[in-house]
């Protein structure tokens, strides 16, 4: 049994990445994720890895693009305004089908926003952010333990599907400390015959590229990529259900919001309200089947979010709007209290959505 150790969420991401075989980190300072870069700056030189502070977010994501194309496990991390700057590179990485891990420890927005926790980059992470038809696997940790385990899983999914895995965390989980366990396991090594390694004059040259001037070719690339996305949607959704067995109300929340919501659900149960929680762990692929199945059982949903209501659109889509969905939200760095969520549950119990 591995040791339990006390770690900050951001440090857990960094340590997990190293344990997953990541030896290349490129980043640019921004609050509230700086501990990741600091951890990497300290550790990487000692283990033969590379930590490089780039001149900008734009440069750092393009260094990630180059390193990913060269076949190594590579990551960057940032927070909301910085991730906007990375959008160009994310689109190129998607269009070139190379694997990378990108962390967004979200803060309030838009614009420079604030430095307190937020979930308002849900649209950016799950619907695009950069240009063109593309998806990223979006993993939403709700604990320091999951900051670590989803980082490791994110690298595997990225290599398996040649896609970007994004850890969509928030400032709270990034900054808080919890005891966690690292399982002793060797990282899976994936063959990368497409990587830029030099031909050694023994094979035709590899080209990593997203330019296809013939529309028929570009269309085929898009259709092929969406077939890959369909497989991911089929096989990779992850979610947690809490007290859903007999529930006739369903709270939907991810990340730090789900921690608050869980307390509210437990409190509501004490008051005799049959409410449960579905916590999406993958935001893309969204756990559509779980939500759709719940829609046949419950009388309504409550989407609890640290935004003006972004995931709620996916809840409505997943449930085909068969049941009403209300929004319980705070924004700009504010976090709802369990009482606020409980009040929304009580309201929903009375049929008010």
């Amino acid at each position: 049994m591995a040791d339990r150790i006390l770690m900050k969420g951001n440090e857990a991401i960094a340590e997990a990445a190293i344990r997953a075989g990541c030896r290349h980190y490129f980043g640019y300072p921004i609050t509230p994720q700086t501990e990741i870069a600091a951890y990497m700056a300290k550790k990487m030189p000692k283990i033969g890895g590379v930590f490089l502070q780039a001149e900008s977010e734009v440069a750092s994501i393009n260094m990630v693009y180059g390193a990913a194309a060269a076949g190594v496990r590579v990551m960057t991390s940032s927070s909301s305004p910085g991730v906007s700057l990375k959008a160009e590179g994310l689109s190129y990485i998607a269009g070139s089908d190379v694997p990378a891990l990108v962390v967004n420890v979200q803060r309030g927005g838009p614009g420079l926003g604030g430095i307190q926790p937020s979930q308002s980059d849900y649209f950016q992470a799950t619907k695009g952010g950069g240009h063109g038809d593309y998806r990223m696997i979006v993993l939403a940790p709700a604990s320091v333990q999951e900051m670590a385990s989803l980082t490791m899983k994110g690298f595997d999914l990225a290599d398996k599907y040649l896609i970007t895995s994004m850890i969509l965390a928030d400032g709270t989980i990034g900054q808080m400390m919890e005891p966690i366990t690292f399982e002793d396991s060797e990282p899976t090594v994936y063959e990368k015959p497409w990587a830029l390694t030099g031909t050694e004059c023994k094979r035709p040259h590899n080209v990593v590229n997203s330019l296809y001037l013939k529309p028929e070719e570009l269309e085929k690339k898009n259709f092929d990529r969406y077939e890959k996305y369909r497989v991911i949607e089929e096989n990779e959704p992850m979610w947690e259900e809490y007290m859903m067995e007999d529930a006739d109300l369903c709270v939907v929340a991810f990340g730090i919001a789900s921690r608050v919501a869980k307390n509210a659900v437990a409190e509501a149960r004490k008051q005799g309200i049959k409410v449960g929680l579905i916590r999406p762990i993958t935001l893309w692929p969204f756990p559509t089947k779980a939500l759709r199945a719940a829609a046949d059982k419950v009388k309504g949903f409550i989407s609890v979010e640290l935004s003006m209501g972004q995931m709620i659109e996916d809840v409505r889509l997943a449930t085909e709007s068969k049941k009403p969905v209300s929004l319980c939200n705070r924004a700009g760095g504010m976090i709802p209290t369990p009482d606020e969520v409980l009040a929304a549950i009580v309201k929903a119990e009375k049929g008010e959505f």
């Binding site: 490089l52 440069a59 260094m63 194309a69 190594v72 190129y92 030099g198 031909t199 040259h205």
Partner: protein, 252 residues
């Protein structure tokens, strides 16, 4: 029978898409010859820009990647830091390197990133049809400076080599031209040295190649080569602006 002339191994058989009279073909060939002569084809990785040379990945037979506009030095940094044993070069135009990618250019030079940069300066955006570049000359007529580049309105052209040479970081910064045989021969020497420096681990080497764009300059190829001599070279003088080794400096 002795072979007196052949296509470099480092070029593929794909025909260039460049306009008649465009020196990109010459510069591609010089790069390929340097790679061949140094025997590094099998371990070279090239980074194509956005611009006229965007499809350079079809022309060079080594492993290639296509970078976002201006980001080639950052992409090259990612590759080189992952595979230091490989030889990594970028091939960029003036819009790519000196406008949208200036930050990536300056900082990769400041880090003395051990890469080779081929910078083709033809004072215009070619691919998009002839707009004003950061290196367009004062008074130069382009699609977006139809009355001639007015320096009071949009500033002065940037001498990239001179500017980068002020940095402590880079190993080798030089400007060459491809407007006559003598200059082409010198350009070849500079390009080869820029790759040799990387092999020896010396660091950032940039060769600025003053080139022509007959199509967008509205000139015949011959007139364009003459315009390099009469108008480009007085503003962009040829020479070595930084060579740390020559100064007996501090190569790593």
């Amino acid at each position: 029978m002795a072979t007196v002339f052949e296509k470099p191994k480092s070029l593929t058989d794909a025909p260039f898409h460049y306009c008649p009279g465009c020196p990109h073909g010459i510069i591609h060939r010089l790069v390929a010859e340097a790679i061949d002569e140094l025997g590094i084809e099998g371990k070279t990785i090239g980074v194509a820009p956005v611009g006229c040379a965007v499809m350079a990945y079809d022309y060079f037979s080594c492993d290639m990647i296509e970078a976002p506009h201006g980001r080639a030095p950052a992409v090259a940094t990612g590759i080189k830091r992952s595979r230091p044993e490989n030889i990594v070069f970028t091939y960029q135009g003036d819009g790519d390197l000196a406008s949208i990618g200036m930050a990536e250019t300056v900082h990769s030079a400041a880090r003395n990133e051990n890469i080779t940069v081929i910078f083709v300066n033809n004072a215009i955006y070619g691919m998009t049809g002839g707009q004003m570049a950061p290196t367009s000359l004062p008074g130069q007529v382009t699609q977006t400076s139809p009355y001639g580049r007015d320096v009071n309105h949009c500033g002065w052209p940037i001498r990239v080599s001179e500017m980068l040479a002020t940095l402590e970081g880079p190993e080798y910064i030089t400007r060459v031209a491809v407007n006559n045989v003598k200059n082409v021969k010198n350009a070849k020497k500079a390009i080869k040295k820029a790759f040799q420096n990387q092999i020896e681990g010396k660091g950032f080497s940039l060769v600025e190649v003053v080139s022509a764009c007959p199509t967008n300059w509205g000139m015949t190829p011959k007139q364009a080569l003459e315009w390099i001599e009469s108008d480009m070279l007085p503003y962009y003088p040829l020479g070595v602006f930084k060579d740390r080794t020559e100064k007996g400096g501090c190569a790593q």
